[in-house]
Symmetry: C2
Subunit: 282 residues, 2 copies
């Protein structure tokens, strides 16, 4: 099960997820002057090579590749190929959500072929039959899911936090996902459908409330760093330093903007600082 | 405004949206034996050329291209290029939804460059700050949005239909979108943020209820035909034959499976039958 593999990586290296969100307007000098495809791929490859012994999983965000058209998508494919070659775990952060026949095609897109990763993110708005088609890959092909449940942006209060039967909507969404998954819990003690739970709180104590509500669910935690989430907030969502991974994108891949070192070394330093902030033994 | 352009196309040609969802397992003999890229592009091009005088807008569904990796994405780009060359309107059916910085990149991806279309579909689960970044393209670059509100799949009851303050969640979502948009209504009388509203009803009379709740919103109506939605259900969501487009994918692009004619002629016949079913003057 992919969540078991992720759990093992976290146990070895700590709960760091590096978001590979390359932006052509924020590239270091060392990779300027190349084609878009070469710029993005070279940038990602150097970041990966400089951090892979410290990082549990990499999370390329599809938007940052799709925005650059065919060149961007080729850079995405080459980044995934490099990650697979290095044996690194991959979360394809695509947040897809669609009816079942279409969902089957998205599963094929991100669990097979050019864009194959180990886990992918999904959006649950359309309901459980938009999640179910991915389960075959989870159950038979060692893949895993992170479904967005409570996100890190201020707009999360607009829909995710609406009150349904006296509880926030996101609690209902989480329970429906638990039900979909049944009782198959991996060796790690965690389920194969993980949740995306933001490091930022909409109300005081929300992180602890969510962690308690879903004790055997693995969390992907965005919102740390540039989005305002603190190490202490993120830690509330872990359990004994595992049970989740904390993502940082800009804080790591753009660390060179505040450093005199080459961008890949600056990224490595930023991962080390993040580990310290999360109080994980190095 | 894109919705005004769509309204004008519907006034001229009727409310038909053709879903371009090519599947390599369901290709006609005429295009077999080519590469994946050539198969998909040739198939789409012939369907477009055979139907363009009858169709208001084409809706390629990104999953059916992404599933075939880089070749599929190249076929997607070439399909969009052909549609733009023919002056046909395009809905990029990508249902993206993410935090604002990422949303800005998705807007760039589908409103500019290789994958440029006229409108795109979005998922509102993460809240209004995940929709807002697209508004610049809507207001300044003549682009338009269709946000999923109440979909056509059985799972729509899982989240979209949950009761919030005595009303279905999708009504709250629709109202939040109206508020985001403000009072800028186009010459057509419709707003530039359209909604995706399925042709199938979760409860009796739902279509009429939704149409009445959002009288100045343009609807993209999936679920007709292969998904079980009837012409009468779809018509409930229109107003005087406009104010929405009804999508059919399999019913048109796979019409050749039930016909002795070449696949493009079968597609044209299927569009004509659909117009009759929707009682639109030819």
């Amino acid at each position: 099960m992919s969540v078991d593999r992720l759990f093992a990586e976290v146990a070895k290296k700590g709960p760091i997820c590096v978001g590979l969100d390359p932006h052509m307007d924020h590239m270091p000098e060392e990779v300027r002057g190349l084609s878009i495809e070469e710029t993005i791929f070279t940038f990602n490859k150097k970041i990966i090579d400089a951090t892979k012994d410290l990082v549990a999983v990499y999370k390329p965000q599809a938007a940052y590749y799709e925005a650059y058209g065919l060149e961007g998508v080729r850079a995405y494919q080459r980044t995934l190929e490099h990650l697979r070659k290095e044996g690194a775990l991959i979360i394809n952060d695509v947040k897809r959500g669609d009816i079942s026949s279409t969902a089957g095609m998205y599963a094929k897109a991100y669990f097979e072929g050019d864009m194959e990763g180990d886990l992918m993110t999904l959006n649950p708005y359309m309901g459980m039959d938009s999640i179910e088609p991915y389960m075959e890959y989870v159950e038979k092909h060692d893949k895993g899911l992170f479904v967005i449940v409570k996100t890190s942006n201020p707009g999360s209060r607009d829909i995710e936090c609406l009150e349904v039967d006296g509880e926030p909507l996101y609690i209902h969404v989480g329970r429906a996902l638990e039900k979909l998954h049944g009782n198959t819990i991996g060796k790690s003690g965690y389920r194969n459908i993980g949740f995306v739970i933001g490091a930022t709180n909409t109300v005081e104590g929300e992180g602890a409330f969510i962690r308690k509500a879903f004790p055997d669910t693995f969390f992907l935690v965005p919102g740390y760093g540039a989005q305002g989430g603190k190490g202490a907030d993120a830690l509330t969502l872990l359990q004994d330093g595992n049970g989740g991974v904390v993502n940082s994108s800009r804080g790591i891949i753009r660390a060179f903007e505040k450093s005199s070192k080459p961008f890949d070394e600056a990224a490595r330093d930023a991962v080390l600082s993040m580990k310290e902030d999360l109080r994980v033994g190095l």
